[in-house]
């Protein structure tokens, strides 16, 4: 008997609709759902690979409890009892840190909040969203920037793209390129720190330095009112110098923007290109408003908007706040729900949270490395199999019908914690919390917005981590999808021709990255579009993500990741 259910992909904020067909919970087939207003392109490579995660041979189906050196399987009800005992013992000794993945359905996040609240302040809950996603949404919220849905791009007569949107969110390609070829003279400006697929489609491309988005956007806003004449304008000259491009290019960009009545600003917040996406969000919002347009934020989490709204309404912490608190007093237990932070961040960074606690619990669907360290593991469905709501940029919510959930042998996070709370299906849903936009956030001081890019230093190159269309951004699931092995079985570093010559290394040779005592050996690819001081590496591999220079800001409450100044050596 074939069962059908409708859900959505959660691997980016476009949340493409998916139809799942299964034969009694086995042999799944995922198809792009062709109905609906966003049915303009098929699933991208990431979305297509959901089937491989659902059918993964190592899929967790039972709970696991550590007893000595052994791992003992537990049934559904046994996991509930084991978790209740573990959490009760932990609460006697201290506090519990609860980290919930932002891609969980909004209803399940609320149920987790209810469970945490019932512990009278002894459970600190944080929602995990990638820091760039969170920062960008905070910045847009600070200026109450108008936002738009991807299907609304047709109502604009120009686009400014910040980042490599056509690779981070490929499904957007159809909408963007339809508009571009319909109106070839309309502005399609791209601001990015590297030559990319997206810049190849631009009418004007600004290849800017990392960390300089804020300065460039500030000066671009000032330049919008400049009267373009034959004589050189000091405002445009200033913008050209800040962006590191020619005067003529800047003049062309400003002219095209001035000619457009309504401009959409598309922002893809990517690691290492900027460490302060809040400020970029603020300035993108101002630019959109100045041109009668709106912002399309592109996040790497499908439910980024929903999770952000809940965080603001319920005053939930960023997970970095749990790191800070763990430094002063170790957590009695740490519970990760549907996320494995160890695949994303280095162990030293996570030491105050995961490393130092004596009780580790993980709710997981796949055997990621962190599962091996846990005292208790509880099996849950993969996100695409969930019943629940995700809030996309379109505001459209797609549900998997509860009676047609495709893997009935595992209980959802919501069901598990409702049992812990001793109540049935009904609960404090508080639907309005994810349906309403929270009140305006804190404005970012203008002085803090302008930060010059740091030079890498003599003998070093600036390493940027790039997001591609084929892997999973957090590194947790990259090697689970078999088709990606045909494209990038191991991480590679791309360097320019001049640098390759200096290092005496050729295509497919080996190089070693060195930074602050850490080393990472990678295969090498020569990209003639890169400048001598530039190098790029795919962000999708855990070993790369752990190598990146993550750092907490002065308050200790916010993680960021600038481009790393690294040394490169050839490996003979």
């Amino acid at each position: 008997m074939t069962e059908q259910a409708y859900t959505h992909c959660l691997f980016c904020s476009l949340c493409c609709p998916i139809k799942i067909e299964s034969d009694r919970g086995e042999r799944y087939r995922l198809n792009y759902e062709t109905q609906g207003p966003r049915a303009t392109a098929g699933l991208c490579g990431r979305g297509s690979s959901w089937v491989e995660l659902v059918e993964h041979p190592g899929r967790l189906r039972d709970g696991l409890r550590k007893e000595g050196q052994e791992r003992v399987p537990l049934s559904g009800s046994e996991t509930g009892e084991a978790f209740a005992q573990l959490s009760a013992r932990a609460l006697e000794q201290g506090r519990i840190a609860l980290v919930a993945d932002g891609n969980l359905p909004c209803e399940d996040l609320l149920t987790l909040y209810d469970w945490a609240s019932a512990k009278e302040g002894r459970v600190a809950m944080a929602v995990y969203l990638p820091p760039p996603d969170l920062d960008l949404l905070e910045g847009l919220s600070a200026v109450e920037a108008p936002t738009l849905a991807p299907e609304e791009l047709t109502s604009f007569d120009g686009v400014v793209v910040i980042g490599n949107a056509l690779q981070t969110h490929p499904v957007l390609g159809r909408a963007l390129l339809d508009e571009k070829f319909k109106n070839p003279r309309a502005v399609f400006a791209v601001l990015d720190t590297l030559p990319s697929v997206t810049t190849r489609f631009a009418t004007v491309a600004l290849d800017i330095a990392p960390e300089s988005h804020q300065a460039v956007l500030e000066k671009l806003l000032s330049a919008l009112d400049v009267t373009l004449t034959v004589e050189e304008s000091p405002v445009l000259r200033d913008l050209a110098q800040t962006a590191g491009v020619s005067y003529g290019r800047v003049k062309r960009l400003v002219g095209q923007l001035q000619a457009a009545r309504k401009v959409a600003v598309v922002v893809s917040a990517e690691l290492t290109k900027n460490s302060d996406w809040r400020s970029v969000g603020v300035l993108a919002g101002r630019l959109a408003r100045a041109k009668g347009g709106a912002v399309l934020p592109l996040c790497s989490y499908g439910n980024a908007v929903g999770a952000y709204r809940l965080m603001r309404h319920l005053r939930l912490a960023r997970f970095e706040g749990l790191l800070k608190e763990g430094k002063s007093k170790p957590w009695a237990a740490v519970v990760q729900v549907a996320c494995d932070l160890g695949n994303t961040y280095p162990a030293e960074l996570l030491e105050p949270l995961w490393g130092s606690t004596s009780r580790k619990v993980m709710f997981a669907s796949l055997p990621t490395p962190g599962v091996r360290e846990t005292d208790l593991t509880i099996a849950i469905p993969t996100p695409v199999e969930y019943s629940g709501t995700a809030v996309t940029g379109s505001g459209i919510e797609r549900r998997l019908k509860p009676t047609e959930r495709v893997s009935p042998w595992v209980q959802s996070v919501g069901d598990f914690f409702r049992r812990q709370l001793g109540r049935g299906q009904a609960g404090t849903e508080k639907e309005s919390l994810w349906k309403t936009v929270p009140s305006r956030g804190k404005e970012i001081p203008a002085e803090a917005a302008l930060r010059p890019a740091a030079e890498p230093g003599a003998g070093r190159v600036r390493l940027q981590a790039v997001t591609g269309p084929i892997h999973f951004d957090d590194g947790a699931l990259t090697r689970q999808a078999g088709w990606t092995l045909y494209w990038e079985a191991e991480p590679q570093v791309s360097i320019g021709s001049a640098l390759a010559e200096r290092l005496a290394v050729k295509e497919a040779g080996r190089v070693v990255l060195k930074q602050n005592g850490s080393c990472l050996e990678l295969a090498c690819r020569v990209d003639p579009t890169l400048e001598p001081g530039q190098a790029t590496v795919s962000v999708h591999f855990p070993e790369v993500r752990r190598f990146l220079p993550w750092r907490l800001d002065e308050s200790g409450a916010r993680l960021c990741c600038p481009a790393a100044a690294v040394e490169l050596e050839s490996r003979r």
Binding site: L30, Y32, A41, G42, L43, C44, G45, S48, S49, V51, E52, L166, Q167, P170, V171, L172, G173, R174, L177, D178, F181, V197, R200, F201, P469, I470, G482, W483, Y486, W487, D527, P528, T529
Partner: protein, 162 residues
Amino acid sequence: MEIAERVVIDVDRCVECKACFAACYYGHRREPIVNFGRTGQVQFPLICRQCDEPTCVDACPYEAMFIDEHGIVKRSLPLCRGCGSCVTACPFGTVTPEMYKHQVPECDLCEDLVLEGGLPRCVAACSGGALQFIEISEAQLEEQGLYAISGRTIGHDPWKRR
């Protein structure tokens, strides 16, 4: 019923997302069928052209490559021995040299979907709208402002490559 349409690529729209490869891979028992070519820094898919006079069919010593009743070039699973003659014979490099379980993966134009009125999986998945499933007709392309550049490649201006 003869299938007259073929998969063509508008090289001006390819965003190198590899969604075509993934859709084909998951729709064909996880065989790596779509091959890719690179010119400069641009990488784009080489979809089987389903030639009118396919050299791969002539080259196959085991008659594993054949043209079926709908005019589609296909590979017979039981007969293919993975010798790679078709890989060498294809003048367009569309047959991937990656062996899958010691057999050569080959495009079948998603006959199962096309005969039901659907699109090949690569075309349906294409993020940028680069892949189209059409009959090559100069008049039809001209209406869309496109030019036929070679047998299965189209674009907006043949003299101006991005």
